[in-house]
């Protein structure tokens, strides 16, 4: 606890710095964010087309899909905006470039994950909030639940990203595989949870925790199943602790790249 508050303050300072750096290239920023909004909306268009032809998927309708996609999109946006450095961790580790973070008097995990902000993440945030607003499922009473779900889902995205990228401590350059894992996670989180069963469902609540990112939040928000809220918070805690443990264990095996560099 004695390091938690300073780490949070440090994270806030890094966020402001990254935001200034991202906004410095104003045209590129708006282009990235704007195109990401277009990208997300075009992708979501398949669902109005689908539900125009078919009535539902095990009770799931277009409004549910908007909430599912909205939570997943907003959480992903929060992740890459606040902790965009996660996606480059494997590269840093295998190239021996973590040195610059290790020499700083701050938590290396916090410093590494918050080292970058992806401008396109703002586009995800805008799309996600837009879809949630127009889903027809979210009223004023649901807003606190949405905030809780997005916070938990973005922490799970970040934690699983850290775990996947940290495998590089043992396996070397696995950056593209780690990114592909994230793609799997996103892929599963934007389809109706009601169509998965058996082994697939077990995988979705363990190795590829898409169930916690969007399926379970939808149950909490749309159907007010409060036990899902408790499960969500519990699972988030477990994934966060696991990420910290895996990164710390990997750091003990880390070998420096012996390169000179300056981290401003």
């Amino acid at each position: 606890m004695n390091t938690f508050v300073p780490s949070l303050k440090y994270l806030g300072a890094l966020f402001v710095t990254n935001l200034k750096a991202t906004l410095a290239l104003r045209v590129a920023f708006w282009l990235q964010a704007g195109l990401m909004v277009v990208n997300n909306l075009v992708f979501f268009t398949i669902w109005p087309i689908f539900f125009n032809r078919y009535d539902s998927v095990n009770g799931w309708k277009l409004g549910h899909m908007a909430v599912l996609y909205g939570v997943s999109c907003t959480a992903f946006g929060v992740w890459v905006v606040v902790a965009g450095g996660v996606r480059d961790m494997a590269q840093l580790i295998s190239d021996g470039d973590l040195d610059t973070y290790l020499t700083l008097p701050k938590n290396p995990l916090v410093r590494t994950v918050a080292s970058r902000m992806q401008g396109s993440g703002w586009g995800d945030l805008i799309t996600g909030i837009g879809l949630l607003s127009f889903s027809g499922v979210i009223g004023a009473w649901e807003v606190p639940l949405v905030i809780l779900c997005v916070a938990c889902a973005s922490l799970i995205y970040t934690s699983t990203g850290i775990i996947a990228q940290s495998v590089a401590f043992w396996a070397g350059p696995i950056g593209s595989l780690a990114r592909q894992f994230t793609e799997f996670l996103i892929s599963f989180s934007v389809y109706p949870g009601s169509m998965f069963s058996g082994v697939v469902k077990v995988i979705l609540f363990t190795i590829v925790p898409a169930g916690f990112i969007s399926h379970l939040p939808l149950e909490l928000i749309a159907n007010k199943r409060w036990e899902m809220g408790a499960a969500l918070v519990g699972a988030t805690t477990v994934y966060c602790l696991l990420a910290i443990w895996v990164f710390s264990a990997g750091l003990r095996r880390y070998e420096s790249g012996n390169r000179f560099g300056v981290q401003a």
């Binding site: 590129a28 282009l31 990235q32 704007g34 195109l35 990401m36 277009v38 990208n39 075009v42 992708f43 268009t45 398949i46 087309i49 689908f50 125009n52 032809r53 078919y54 009535d55 539902s56 998927v57 095990n58 396109s120 696995i174 593209s176 595989l177 592909q180 793609e183 799997f184 892929s187 599963f188 389809y191 109706p192 009601s194 169509m195 998965f196 069963s197 697939v200």
Partner: protein
């Protein structure tokens, strides 16, 4: 090799050699191959579950689950088997490596095309085979008219070539827009919608289908994918014609963009 021997080398031999090297490198990079195979398996799994759920609820549909899964196998193979050369080209342009390629006695554009085809020759059978096994495992059957798969096989490869050239053109645009990722995302998502990547265009509203027929996405995704359940030689011929037309258009655009890009790179020093 002395100059006399070098002069005897057929110009195409240089590109064939580049393609062969790229094919060998792709074979060595098994993790990426495995990743792509898993990726197509994952999509087939998700959508086989979706169609099983929807059609088991007695909702209307013209096609069986097997038809729809084999359709998805073809459309996904087109996008997953095609190398992401635009990312390599963007990297070359951003870090200035393209300057090292320009003085070489091979065109940068055609060297990328030949390397892409070299990679494709390895990736295409790997992805298609893994996907076909997965589709068969998930549905337990071939499509209702499996003869269409025979037409689909060469046309899917041709569709991959069309996507490859469009990817290279997008990569070259990095000379002007630096970060091509947003453009790639939009291009991919337009493929989703206007190409019928996930859902066959038979379920689309008429107006959207009419719009998509004028785009390349229709030709290289739905045009090929529909052969999974339409084993009609005339349909296959129509799809082949559309694909050849769009390949020619993409090559023309790529050459035009490349010439413009070369001028910009020469002026700014690469």
């Amino acid at each position: 090799m002395n100059p006399t021997t070098a002069q005897r080398v057929h110009p195409l031999a240089k590109y064939a050699a580049l393609g062969a090297i790229a094919a060998r490198q792709t074979l060595v990079d098994r993790a990426v191959l495995l990743g792509r195979a898993v990726f197509i398996g994952l999509f087939l799994l998700i959508f086989s579950q979706l169609w099983k759920t929807v059609l088991s609820m007695g909702q209307r549909g013209e096609h069986s689950v097997a038809d729809l899964v084999w359709y998805l196998l073809i459309t996904e193979t087109v996008l997953i088997a095609t190398p992401y050369l635009h990312l390599d080209i963007e990297k070359d342009i951003r870090n200035g490596d393209v300057a090292n390629h320009l003085p070489r006695p091979v065109s940068y554009l055609w060297s990328q095309v030949s390397q892409g085809i070299g990679q494709l020759v390895v990736r295409f059978p790997a992805v298609a085979l893994c996907g076909a096994l997965m589709a068969w495992g998930l549905t337990g059957e071939l499509p209702s008219n499996p003869a269409g798969l025979l037409y689909a096989l060469p046309l899917t490869f041709l569709a991959c070539c069309a996507v490859l050239i469009s990817n290279i053109t997008i990569g070259l645009l990095a000379v002007w827009i630096v970060d091509i990722n947003p453009l790639v995302f939009v291009w991919q998502k337009l493929s989703f919608i206007l190409g019928g990547l996930i859902f066959p265009m038979d379920i689309y509203p008429d107006w959207l289908r009419a719009v998509s027929e004028w785009t390349p996405f229709y030709a290289y995704l739905y045009g090929v994918g529909r052969l999974a359940y339409t084993p009609d030689p005339m349909v296959a011929l129509g799809s082949a014609g559309m694909l050849l037309f769009w390949c020619a258009v993409f090559v023309w655009i790529a050459l035009w963009v490349y010439r413009k890009a070369l001028r910009v790179m020469t002026i700014s020093g690469g």
